[in-house]
């Protein structure tokens, strides 16, 4: 099976026309993330102009949270680190970062929103209500690197916390003591990569991480997120990007994974699903396409495993610490 590029472009394009579906309204809390996922699909497929740039930037800015700073996932919603990263990723992709960087008030509000959510142990809460998760560490550090505002005051304790999420099996948990999960390998390794701190993991740890990650591949070619779980396109990305970050991408079978991702395409309507014959969504579409790009699938724009964005864009982000 081939990658159905045109179908996927059309699928992403159609996403905003579902306003008569109840589900569309129920998913407002993910809208900005959805725009980032869709835009990144288009970028990797070499068709970024499919979205109207000015419209998208205007939408992102309409999600700005005046009260707390940062981006909400939708106008009138509350800001959160998850949606703040999506907002900045979209702006960076479309060349609209100055909307935040050159606006003194917004920039200082944004930085304050991020740093005020860092807790004493270096971890981050997603917003003022106290949920701690290594995902939010990644969000915060990625935001700051996009803005070029990483500082030792934030980075050092943050890295300390992320390292404590490392587990005996070579995986990472969402907090110290939590079970290893593929998505956390991505967020923790990504956080360490962004801050130039990967060397704080020993060669033995890196080997153990590689072992745990490559054991995620199942005979059908897809990758799971934890032992004894089903394969899934999104986990395939979390594992694959993690392997790429530690330079062990070849520890899994490319061909089999490629076939698994391709088999999850909706041949009629476009889009990629978690597993074959399931309902496609933009989340699995971006991670499927980004995975294929990492695997070297032909004619795709190269994707940066640390940011899940095209290299051409991330090249401009702040390089911090030792590389």
């Amino acid at each position: 099976m081939q990658l159905l590029k045109e179908k996927h472009i059309a699928y992403v394009k159609s996403l905003d026309s579902h306003t008569d579906d109840y589900e569309y309204w129920l998913s407002e809390h993910l809208r900005l993330n959805g725009v980032y996922w869709g835009l990144t699909v288009l970028c990797i497929l070499g068709s970024p102009e499919t979205f109207d740039k000015d419209d998208v930037i205007a939408f992102v800015m309409s999600c700005w949270d005046d009260k707390y700073g940062g981006f909400a996932p939708f106008p009138r919603h509350d800001s959160h680190l998850l949606s703040t990263l999506s907002g900045l990723q979209i702006l960076a992709t479309l060349g609209g970062l100055d909307n935040v960087k050159k606006d003194q008030l917004k920039l200082s509000q944004c930085l304050k929103f991020i740093s005020s959510n860092q807790l004493e142990d270096g971890s981050f809460q997603g917003d003022r209500f106290g949920e701690v998760d290594a995902r939010f560490s990644y969000n915060a550090l990625s935001c700051l690197s996009i803005l070029g505002e990483l500082t030792p005051e934030v980075v050092d304790p943050a890295v300390n916390f992320v390292l404590r999420c490392y587990n005996f099996d070579g995986g990472f948990g969402l907090s110290p003591g939590a079970e290893s999960h593929a998505s956390m390998a991505f967020t923790c390794l990504g956080a360490l990569k962004i801050t130039g701190k990967l060397h704080l993991l020993s060669p033995e740890q890196i080997d153990m991480i590689g072992w745990w990650l490559c054991e995620r591949q199942l005979p059908e070619g897809g990758l799971n997120g934890r032992p004894s779980k089903l394969p899934d396109v999104c986990y395939s990305w979390w594992v694959l990007s993690s392997l790429a970050i530690i330079g062990k991408l070849e520890w899994i079978d490319y061909e089999k994974l490629t076939q698994f991702i391709l088999s999850c395409q909706d041949e009629k309507r476009g889009g990629i699903s978690d597993r074959p014959n399931n309902e496609a969504d933009v989340f699995h579409t971006v991670f499927g396409v980004a995975g294929l790009s990492l695997l070297g699938y032909k004619d795709l724009v190269p994707v940066d495993p640390t940011y899940c964005m095209p290299y051409s864009i991330t090249a401009t982000f702040q390089k911090y610490g030792l590389y």
Partner: protein, 326 residues
């Protein structure tokens, strides 16, 4: 979306859905707007609280609505009767049963418990029973285990007593129910490590010997599943095993592990005609320790790795990498 079968809609079905959806959208979006208007006016009334109930019942993923709800509750805190808090916990449970994987709901539950008047131990004890019941339904629910650790941590804080021994018994029970429950194996590692660190184990040697029996039984029970093997990998490399058993006994432990694993592997060869890849992978780990401890140890690692390259081609580059280091 996870695990939703792709469905082909007929034109008629689509039309019907859109008609139904139009009504639902009208009700939903006007309630969203009026509630956000209330929020913008700093309305912290019971009526506003009731509106968030209605909305969250329709859409428990609406994080901003949970936020508003918490702001209202925090403002009304001194006026709310005790029954309110139990009612709130019931409301959340209804949502959790429908959506056991939505982070926002778990997060709200912890917030409510933390803000429960007095936050007494009895409330957290009841919570521990609830999370046990949830883990009965889905023994590997990620959120459930994470939540359990938080509840236990809270109880330990309140009572000043470690619950590690009881939690270890719980993890054992979960493993005995299903040997592939890696969440429980994970928990086992956390607990054992902490119990040693905090001096909670009286007879350390006896404990280690029992643990060796336990993992040996587990290995014979299901040699196909990677959960027990990841645990064994940890245990073999856990520094305290050697320091507590002493070098001689530790070496004998490694030898008996080797004998047992080879026995399992031979059974597999007899049964299916090929080696068990996990047996070989863990033998490699054990040999690594043996090589470190006994100079002149006769290693079979190259032979194991060459077999693995052929029998586990998905990961052959890892084995080639390890071969290059032999």
């Amino acid at each position: 979306m996870h695990g939703v079968k792709r469905r082909q809609w007929t034109k008629d079905q689509l039309k019907q859905k859109k008609e139904k959806d139009r009504m639902k959208i009208d009700v939903y979006s006007s309630l969203v707007n009026s509630t956000l208007d209330r929020r913008d006016k700093n309305d912290h009334s019971l009526t506003a609280l009731e509106d968030t109930t209605k909305l969250l019942d329709m859409n428990p993923e609406f994080n901003t609505m949970w936020n508003y709800r918490r702001d209202i509750i925090a403002k009304l805190k001194t006026e709310l009767p005790l029954q309110f808090w139990d009612k709130e916990l019931k409301f959340i449970m209804v949502q959790l049963k429908k959506f056991p994987k939505v982070y926002w709901i778990w997060n709200h539950r912890i917030w409510v418990l933390n803000n429960y008047p007095g936050s007494p131990a009895s409330v957290w004890e009841r919570e521990l029973d609830i999370v046990s019941a949830l883990l009965e339904v889905d023994a590997r629910n990620f959120h459930g285990w994470h939540y359990r650790r938080m509840v236990v941590g809270k109880l330990e804080n309140i009572t000043g007593k470690s619950m590690d021994a009881g939690e270890l018994a719980y993890a054992s029970k979960k493993i005995n129910n299903n040997i592939s429950n890696f969440s429980a194996w994970h928990q086992r590692v956390q607990l054992i490590d902490r119990m040693f660190a905090n001096g909670e184990i009286e007879d350390r040697k006896e404990f280690m010997e029992k643990e060796i029996n336990y993992l040996t039984n587990a290995m014979f029970t299901d040699a196909e599943d990677q959960s027990v093997w990841f645990y064994i990998n940890w245990f073999v490399n856990y520094p305290l095993v050697q320091s507590i058993l002493g070098k001689e006994q530790y070496i004998r432990f490694l030898e008996s592990m080797t004998t047992n694993i080879l026995m399992i592997n031979d059974d597999d060869i007899e049964f299916s005609g090929s080696d068990n890849s996990w047996c070989l992978k863990i033998l490699l780990v054990i040999e690594q320790r043996q090589k470190e401890l006994s100079p002149g140890f006769e290693s079979h690692s190259v032979q194991y790795l060459e077999k693995l390259v052929v029998m586990d081609p998905l990961r052959k580059n890892r084995y080639l990498h390890l071969l290059s280091k032999q």
